[in-house]
Symmetry: C2
Subunit: 233 residues, 2 copies
């Protein structure tokens, strides 16, 4: 991937990739801080997540701008162009992950500011948050190493997150039916669960972009078994 | 925008744009059919939405492929490159709109298949669905005419959809508290409302891409007043 006559071109590609990885690290730490603030009720931590969201937004715009410039200057083809197009899509996914982290933080604020917190099953989202943040971490690792097999494993985890999400909803419905005064706060927990489910979706998207770079095949919207064959073939 | 030496290049750009508009028309009609099926309980119509979602997925992949080829063959710059990058982002948004329409259809299936439908406030989402589909329609019109002022008006509608969404949630919480047996079905209505809120978000994104093409300025994440100045300036 880095066999160009021009050292500067290699450097430009590497700069874009490392900025994208930096953005990935940022939104991952935002998601971690959001679930931490939600679990503990640490308002300073929660507010920091909301305040930091603009850093992810700024990185999105800066990286997209760099991508446009490198297309004009370098007229990339083949695997370089795939990398550039995949980074462009990945940056969109990462910005949305940042948005979801900020949403979780806003929900955490509401939940810890409401009267009925005691007895509310805050921890119901513990498992889904771990799966989602793990998928994000592993999709970024797969991108850093351009490892299609690792990316395929991330895609396979999507089933687990969907089933965990449905289980949380069932649990919260039971809880709300038993004590209707908790409906409003429980709905906020539903939104937190939904935000993590979406972080899982975006991680899967990122993993699909990695397979596209490495294998040259667009694996979105195909069955998992076929995706795995493409990634390992 | 279409002042090239090569007629073939103009034609290629026009083909991509018209395929994107075709995809926009498809997902718009999917969203309309989904709300129609949800309101009427017409299962054939609901199932058609779910079955047709794969057409939007296929268009996404086909258009992205065309975009890669035109970059390699034409080495676009300036406004052509902005158009190409904006189409690439827009196609992602349109595919997600298609996903949301399919989600609405799946919720409609569950709602009309459940025991407690009578008395359930199905129509609570009537207004939000109209705003969202209207925003989608107008964002696509703005793209077709490359009209930055019309695009800015779409962005301004986002406030209305968020406030309508919050009002629906309050209404449904009251309803669930009065009759906890309706919680499960009411939650499905919450998901329908959420899906339309997201269609509104994607429409706003598309409108921002239009302003980027016309004005050359990335207006994501800036305050509405500044966005309007950019679009009208």
């Amino acid at each position: 991937m880095t066999d160009h006559i021009s050292k500067q071109y290699d450097q430009d590609l590497e700069t874009i990739r490392s900025r994208m990885m930096q953005m990935g690290g940022l939104v991952e730490s935002q998601a971690r801080a959001a679930i931490d603030g939600y679990m503990t009720g640490d308002i300073a931590r929660i507010d920091a997540v909301i305040a930091n969201d603009k850093r992810a937004n700024e990185l999105e715009i800066a990286i997209d701008n760099d991508l446009g410039q490198i297309i004009v200057r370098r007229q990339p083809a083949a695997s370089d162009l795939r990398l550039i197009l995949a980074v462009s899509k990945t940056v969109t996914d990462l910005e949305r992950v940042g948005d979801e982290a900020a949403k979780i933080a806003r929900m955490a604020r509401e939940i810890h500011g409401s009267r009925v917190v005691s007895g509310i099953p805050l921890t119901a989202v513990g498992h889904v948050s771990e799966i989602a943040i793990g998928m994000l971490r592993r999709s970024l690792d797969a991108f850093a190493r351009l490892d299609a097999a690792a990316a395929a494993r991330v895609c396979a985890e999507d089933v687990a997150i969907d089933s965990e999400f449905r289980s949380i909803i069932r649990q919260l419905i039971t809880f709300m039916m038993e004590d209707p005064r908790t409906i409003s706060t429980s709905l906020n927990i539903v939104w937190v669960a939904k935000a993590f489910e979406r972080i899982g979706d975006h991680s899967k998207n990122i993993a699909e972009h990695v397979i596209y770079i490495v294998k040259g095949r667009d694996v979105r919207h195909i069955p998992l078994a076929e995706l795995e064959r493409e990634a390992l073939g």
